[in-house]
């Protein structure tokens, strides 16, 4: 007796259809799963057998062979428990084979026969829709997330016995229907606001410019100056997510197991701040079954690396390509998966190992060679990608007492950022893969960042006096373009250039 049940497996952040074939034969009793299952799928054997018993289905001893097709792709996860159990029951003719053609089945089983939540429900739902399935049967906790996909019957189930009755048309389970727009709107709420940050006007301004033009930022300052706090607030001034972007982020989080029935749709921009001991695979993605890394979890959001010099050099090196392309491709022996990774890169560091180099009050206790070594750790191609360098100094006492009422809120800053983004959208409408000023190629400089003679003079003088490199030159132009956009000025004026030059602090001081 052979039965077929349709299920799904995750590869990268997308799902593909897996056909679970079950055969029952005479001979010595055994359960054998083939089709390159990982350990958790091999353990399905025991979970399924006991779950069937708990659900009062008798499983007489026989040779059970289960194949997960396509058989040459490695599969992982515990989500095959349900389709395997149903496949066995279908082979025993306890489940109608007809309904099995219409639904995709996924779910982990507990020993008592109850369904447990899985990862990647959203991607699985998308795959089911693309493959013209009528619907999917999945654990109750994952149903809200999957129901974001329209025109798909998302059947929430709590236990195995229930699924059997449903497939045999003995009972009816109404599909879960979510109003994605409504969920989206309800969850677009940040707990933080820029109005909470006292003082630091220059730093806040620099961050506004960075947000507007998609520029990466390096903050240098003593401990306790608020670098981390400011980084955390950046998502609140970035333009709001579109529904498509939210779905893309949710897919990534779903596959990593970070969504829940409370947050079926991620509708706020992510903020990720990995510790400097993170591994390469943890940062960019990878592992034996490629999983998204921190850079993908920051997609459409912010990746904040605090204590930049403490990160291993090769780990930072692996960031170069994604910063350039906006994606990361993880290759394995017979497959490769590409994860999206378009994020705003924010880094922070102390000015020296002890942290108090430029501090007006505390004395720096570092040897000059130690300072050079410290900065030496972060020089190179990574810094090339950083357009804006801010010095964040210790907060003055009068600023701490500043009245919150008079500090500008995130909503107000975001409005300006939005306008600047609109200008950029219009500007780059004929450019593929260019969305922000930070991405303007050298070729397009003269087209988009033309400056008048006065500005040219100022810029050249600055280059000379401060010893700026050619690289710095182009960065200044790009940042000036953003500053002009924020003012809704078509031309780049000389004071825009002057402000942009300020953001090359560290070049100036020859630290980098």
């Amino acid at each position: 007796m052979l039965s077929k049940v349709y299920s799904s497996s995750i590869f990268g952040i997308d799902a593909y259809v897996v056909t679970v074939e079950v055969d029952l034969s005479p001979g010595l009793p055994s359960i054998n799963i083939v089709g390159l299952p990982d350990t958790s799928i091999k353990e399905s054997r025991d979970r399924v057998r006991v779950a069937l018993k708990s659900s009062k289905f008798e499983l007489s001893p026989q040779r059970i062979t289960i194949n997960l097709a396509p058989a040459d792709l490695k599969k992982e996860g515990s989500l095959f428990d349900l389709p395997i159990a149903i496949g066995i029951l279908a082979a025993l003719e306890k489940v109608e084979k007809e309904s099995l053609n219409n639904y995709l089945l996924v779910g982990e089983l507990s020993l008592d026969g109850k369904l447990r939540p899985i990862k990647g429900a959203l991607s699985i739902a998308i795959s089911a829709k693309e493959n013209n399935f009528k619907g999917i049967v999945l654990p109750f906790e994952n149903s809200c997330e999957a129901s974001i996909i329209p025109d798909l019957a998302v059947i929430p189930a709590k236990e195995l016995a229930e699924v059997v009755k449903f497939l045999n048309k003995e009972i009816d389970i109404s599909p879960c229907q979510a109003d994605s727009e409504k969920i989206f709107v309800n969850h677009t709420h940040y707990d933080l606001d820029f109005a909470e940050i006292k003082g630091q006007k220059q730093a806040k301004r620099a961050i506004e410019v960075a947000a507007a033009g998609g520029h990466n930022v390096l903050m240098v300052g003593p401990p306790g100056s608020g670098k981390t706090m400011m980084a955390k607030h950046i998502p609140t001034i970035l333009p709001e997510l579109s529904l498509e972007e939210a779905i893309e982020i949710t897919k990534i989080y779903s596959v990593t197991g970070l969504t829940s029935s409370y947050t079926p749709l991620i509708s706020t921009r992510p903020f990720r701040s990995p510790h400097h001991t993170i591994s390469d695979a943890g940062l960019v993605g990878g592992g034996p079954f490629p999983h998204p890394g921190e850079i993908s979890l920051s997609h459409h959001g912010v990746l904040f690396l605090d204590e930049l010099p403490e990160f291993a050099r090769h780990t930072l090196e692996s960031l170069r390509q994604p910063l350039e392309d906006g994606v990361i491709t993880v290759s394995r022996a017979n497959s490769s998966s590409t994860f999206p990774a378009r994020f705003m890169f924010i880094a922070a560091m102390n000015p020296c190992p002890c942290g108090f180099l430029a501090d007006p009050i505390k004395e720096c206790t570092c040897h000059p060679s130690a300072i050079q070594k410290y900065f030496g750790k972060v020089s190179g191609p990574l810094l090339d990608r950083i357009d804006i360098q801010i010095e964040v100094s210790r907060i003055k006492s009068q600023d701490i007492e500043e009245n919150t009422e008079f500090i500008e809120s995130s909503i107000s800053i975001r409005a300006r950022v939005n306008k600047a983004r609109q200008i950029q959208k219009e500007r780059f409408k004929r450019r593929k893969n260019v969305f922000f000023n930070s991405q303007i190629s050298q070729k397009d400089m003269s087209k988009f960042c033309a400056i008048d003679q006065d500005s040219k003079t100022i810029l050249n003088k600055a280059m000379e006096k401060l010893g700026l490199s050619a690289r710095a030159y182009y960065k200044i132009l790009k940042v000036s373009r953003t500053i002009a956009d924020l003012e809704e000025s078509q031309e780049i004026k000389s004071y825009h250039i002057l402000e942009a030059i300020q953001y090359r602090n560290l070049d100036r001081q020859r630290w980098l």
Binding site: G27, L28, P29, S30, I33, K42
Partner: protein
């Protein structure tokens, strides 16, 4: 009583008990180079390979637990030989364990039907 005698006595008791349960005894002490199986019987249309474990007292734990990994693998191997020799691969098979504790008066008999399945290759 010696352990050999204990084993023999246990098997006698087991055979009687199984017959009462409706099993049809086919082979006793089926021996091959790889080992032996205590009883091979037919329970309705299922071929059953039975391992009998006897104890005098329950002190060293239930006899069923004496059928460890190694013993199970041995029973599986011998079962395969039997099926091949007698050309019986078309039958559904099962492994049972009969545990007997010979207490003072009546022997304590426990039949574990479908006690284990073949462990698949890892």
């Amino acid at each position: 009583m010696s352990s050999k005698d204990l084993g023999k006595k246990g098997e006698e008791i087991a055979v009687k008990y199984l017959k009462k349960q409706g099993y049809k005894i086919i082979e006793l002490n089926y021996q091959t180079k790889l080992g032996e199986i205590d009883i091979i019987a037919l329970d309705k249309n299922i071929l059953v390979f039975i391992e009998v474990k006897s104890r005098i007292s329950p002190r060293y734990g239930p006899p069923i637990e004496a059928v460890n990994q190694r013993k199970r693998l041995q029973v599986e191997k011998v079962a395969k030989v039997y099926l091949t020799q007698k050309n019986l691969w078309h039958l559904n098979c099962r492994f049972d364990i009969v545990s007997i504790i010979l207490t003072a008066q009546k022997p304590n008999i426990f039949l574990a039907k479908d006690a284990f399945w073949v462990e698949s290759e890892k």
